[in-house]
């Protein structure tokens, strides 16, 4: 690809307790690209995210951020983690401080920043995620959607170049989904490259520029409308075609709509 890659993984093999989950998986993430990552439960989607973030060491293969290869040394791992942050699906397995501000300040404090700078970062991250009003609240009193956004703020406070999100919208009500996606827009506008792992093919189509599907331990990547129109690939990955593409195919529209608006345009514009 001609664009600059912010993150690149090649030939990843990884697993747990002797079982290999990834068998030669690779991924190329251009700077600023919105990548939707898809795959059934147990496909290795989360393992891939964990390898990319440095949380899981692959048995072979390489991961690079902006050309710097993630080595086995402590310093390299530290530098990698500063640049790539992962937010897992369940916020209860990630929030550990008594109150929201404290939790978000954890990363910046570990970077050794002066207190004023830490406070500024906490304010900024909470504002980006739209949860400034929760700053003083105890974490375990928040709703599920609020906890998810606070957990994301904790990662954002590290000012990562790449943010990997595992199912950021799962379990949220429509308003919660809307708020989470709005927060992601603000992050992207700030220059963060976002990878969104999801089971929701409609969301992947509407949100992503590229899509990647984890299947049989490897990754198939491409423009979102190509990948999500590939019936063979989708069936193998136990996914289905998003409804706009399905409808377009059934009606023989000859376009690849990503939203309801695209469908309306295609149907109401005279040929």
């Amino acid at each position: 690809m001609a664009e600059a890659l912010v993150l690149r993984a090649t030939g990843l093999h990884a697993g747990y307790l002797g079982q290999e989950v990834l068998r030669g998986a690779g991924l190329e993430l251009p700077t600023g690209c919105r990548l939707a990552l898809l795959g059934a439960n147990g496909s290795g989607k989360t393992t891939l995210l964990r390898c990319l973030s440095g949380a899981h060491r692959p048995s072979s293969g390489t991961v690079e951020v902006a050309g710097n290869r993630l080595g086995s040394g402590r310093g390299a791992l530290r530098e990698h983690r500063r640049r790539v942050q992962l937010v897992l699906q369940d916020p209860d397995d990630q929030l550990f401080s008594a109150d929201v501000s404290q939790d978000v300040s954890f990363g910046p404090m570990n970077l050794g920043l002066p207190p004023d700078e830490v406070r500024a970062r906490v304010r900024e991250s909470l504002a980006l995620l739209g949860v400034s009003h929760l700053a003083e609240r105890p974490t375990h009193q928040l709703s599920y959607g609020e906890r998810k956004r606070v957990a994301t703020a904790g990662a954002v406070a590290m000012r990562p170049e790449v943010l990997l999100l595992d199912e950021p919208t799962a379990g949220l009500d429509p308003a919660g989904v809307h708020e989470m996606l709005a927060a992601l827009e603000r992050l992207i506008a700030q220059g963060t490259t976002v990878v969104l792992a999801t089971h929701d093919v409609d969301l992947a189509l509407a949100w992503g520029e590229q899509a990647a599907v984890v299947l049989d331990g490897t990754v198939r990547q491409g423009p979102v409308t190509d990948i999500l129109a590939d019936q063979t690939l989708l069936a193998a990955a136990r996914l289905h075609r998003p409804w706009p593409l399905e409808l377009a195919a059934r009606l023989g529209l000859g376009v690849a709509p990503r939203h309801l608006d695209d469908i309306v345009t295609a149907l109401t514009t005279p040929h």
Binding site: A98, D99, P138, T139, H140
Partner: protein, 207 residues
């Protein structure tokens, strides 16, 4: 440190089982009484047991470079009282023996005595003394955690020394050896566990 399976003679196993039994039975009675009071208590007690197991699996920040885990006996004693801890601690030690191969079945009595009885009671005693002396809460918590950890290891050393007296210098020589190996390396860990206890109770006061 759990005494491994096969390490104690049958007579010693029996003695430590006998020594622990009254405490564990007393604790079991307390657990039955609590769970009859309300069905919710059964779940709270189980959560306490699970927490104790998980606590002992959490790695403490390494000072010496080797990995180490808290005994958690002092925290359990303050939170759940020593009688209940005698029962829950026994369950946790049984789980550790069979799930992690830490400890054993014949040595369970000895391990229960050091980790589920002696440690918790020592910690709880220190905690109550500090409260009577009107010391600040963190002194009591630190003291309880520190002494519970240390007493647990001293009792384990004593148990091993009784089982294997030194050929020349006898029980005392053997005790010195085991204390030297286990308890002295344990002092920084006991300090760490005391600090951890203070931080955890500070955390609880804020949520």
């Amino acid at each position: 440190m759990h005494i491994a399976e096969g390490f104690l003679s049958p007579a010693q196993c029996a003695i430590w089982y006998a020594a622990s039994a009254p405490f564990v039975v007393h604790g079991a009675r307390a657990v039955i009484a609590e769970s009859r009071k309300s069905p919710e208590n059964k779940l709270l007690l189980a959560a306490a047991g699970a927490f104790t197991f998980v606590l002992s699996a959490i790695k403490l920040p390494s000072v010496t470079g080797s990995s180490s885990h808290p005994t958690g006996t002092g925290m359990g004693a303050i939170l759940f009282r020593p009688p209940v801890m005698a029962f829950l601690g026994s369950v946790v030690l049984l789980f550790q023996a069979l799930l992690l191969a830490h400890g054993g079945i014949t040595t369970l009595g000895a391990n229960v005595f050091s980790m589920a009885i002696a440690g918790p009671w020592a910690g709880y005693g220190v905690y109550m003394l500090c409260r009577k002396a009107r010391l600040p809460w963190y002194a009591g918590v630190f003291g309880a955690m520190f002494f519970a950890d240390l007493v647990t290891y001293c009792v384990t050393s004593l148990q091993l020394a009784i089982a294997y007296p030194d050929a020349g210098s006898g029980l005392l020589g053997s005790l010195a050896k085991f204390l030297g190996i286990f308890a002295v390396t344990q002092v920084p860990l006991a300090v760490m566990e005391g600090l951890l206890g203070v931080l955890v109770f500070r955390f609880l006061s804020r949520v």
